[in-house]
């Protein structure tokens, strides 16, 4: 089995995890910029983080035959201070020249504040200015439904946005229809305690079909499983999904979306 892990925070994972991914058939890992578990105090901290994403992680992944790509932004949890957020955003264009950077992400909302929304919209404009795909985070738990609605309302104001170049991630049963019906891609995150369980993600796939849908582990420093995608593939098999159906959701779909960046190759 081959697969693409389209959303993983490998800076938080050990080198052993790269080996496990490779053994499980992972060919590509894509890493959106995110919250490191604590607030960084300076833009310089982000400069170093962007270097880690674009210089160090591709080399670490390559040791196991895995291609590593990244997405850049200031994540929503640290974007509530607009002055600080804009300082970090000013660093991004320099890194967009890197050959492994796919687009802008994971941007979005966390607590659904006005400042988060303003910085989200500035990121969308940055992506449009550079003709880049966008990866959007949706908020956690009780904030997800409202945050998804605010995100969709905001995106609707960007008349030049190509919706097929945008993926809205962490969808669950109460948000997936809104995202797909609006013409965007949707990502399902497989987490042990929050977001989607393996079986719920398969339910969503069975109900909505595989069009514009992918699944990811979003493994990071928290409770998460870097092997969630191949485990979900195994569960799909036990629920009598065909090998072709499994290949589509764990390999072809992420490849099709990510290939909208000319830098993405498998």
């Amino acid at each position: 089995m081959r697969y693409i892990e389209p959303h993983a925070h490998m800076v938080s994972r050990t080198t052993d995890d790269y080996e496990k991914l490779a053994l499980a058939g992972c060919e590509v890992v894509c890493e959106p910029a995110f919250w490191a578990g604590f607030d960084r105090l300076s833009a310089q901290g982000f400069y170093d983080y962007f270097r880690q994403l674009t210089e160090y992680e591709p080399k670490r992944a390559a040791r196991y035959g895995i291609r590593h790509f990244s997405w850049l932004c200031i994540n929503p949890k640290e974007a509530d201070d607009p002055v600080f957020a804009r300082e970090v955003m000013a660093l991004i264009p320099e890194f967009l020249k890197c050959q492994t950077v796919l687009g802008i992400g994971e941007i979005g909302l966390n607590k659904n504040t006005r400042n988060e929304l303003a910085i989200f919209e500035e990121h969308v404009q940055l992506a449009l200015d550079h003709d880049l795909p966008i990866l959007i985070h949706t908020p956690h738990l009780e904030d997800k439904l409202k945050g998804t609605r605010l995100t969709l309302d905001s995106l609707a104001n960007f008349s030049k946005l190509n919706r097929t170049k945008v993926i809205i991630d962490h969808v669950e049963e109460h948000t997936v229809s809104q995202v797909l019906d609006a013409g965007y891609w949707a990502g399902m995150t497989l987490y042990p305690h929050s977001k989607c369980s393996l079986d719920r993600a398969i339910d969503i796939l069975e109900i909505h079909g595989p069009e514009r849908l992918w699944m990811n582990s979003a493994c990071d420093w928290g409770v998460s499983d870097p092997l969630a995608v191949p485990k979900c593939a195994l569960q799909m098999k036990s629920r009598q999904h065909t090998a072709e159906a499994i290949e589509r959701i764990i390999y072809q779909n992420p490849r099709d979306f990510l290939s909208q960046s000319p830098r993405f190759t498998v």
Binding site: K77, D80, N110, K111, N112, T113, R114, N115, E116, L117, P139, H140, L141, E142, D143, K144, L145, K146, R149, L150, E172, E173, H174, D199, R200, D203, E206, S238, R239, Q240
Partner: protein, 92 residues
């Protein structure tokens, strides 16, 4: 696609385990001292959805545990989330 019997064979024990865990959690909350908060209120409000005759129970429970306001807030008091909307501050 598996039929109902095959799904029961595959997943009933796991679902039974989760049902028992939820029941034991509610017993544990009742047994321990102090006040509950909006989270247990929200959970008990959502529980009847499990028995409703509808095809979208998971979606309905997620909606019941969601912030249903529509306007962005001026400022957040914290960065995290609790799993249920905190504006229903009832105790139990």
């Amino acid at each position: 696609m598996p039929n109902k019997q095959e799904l029961l064979d595959l997943q009933f024990i796991d679902a039974r385990h989760k049902l028992l865990d939820l029941a034991a959690f509610l017993d544990r909350i009742d047994r321990h001292p102090g006040d509950g908060d909006f989270r247990i209120v929200a959970m008990k409000t959502a529980l009847p959805i499990l028995l409703a005759d509808r095809p979208d129970r998971a979606r309905a429970i997620l909606e019941a545990l969601s912030d249903e306001t529509s306007e962005p807030i001026q400022q957040a008091a914290h960065q995290g989330a609790f799993g249920a909307p905190s504006h229903s501050k009832s105790k139990i």
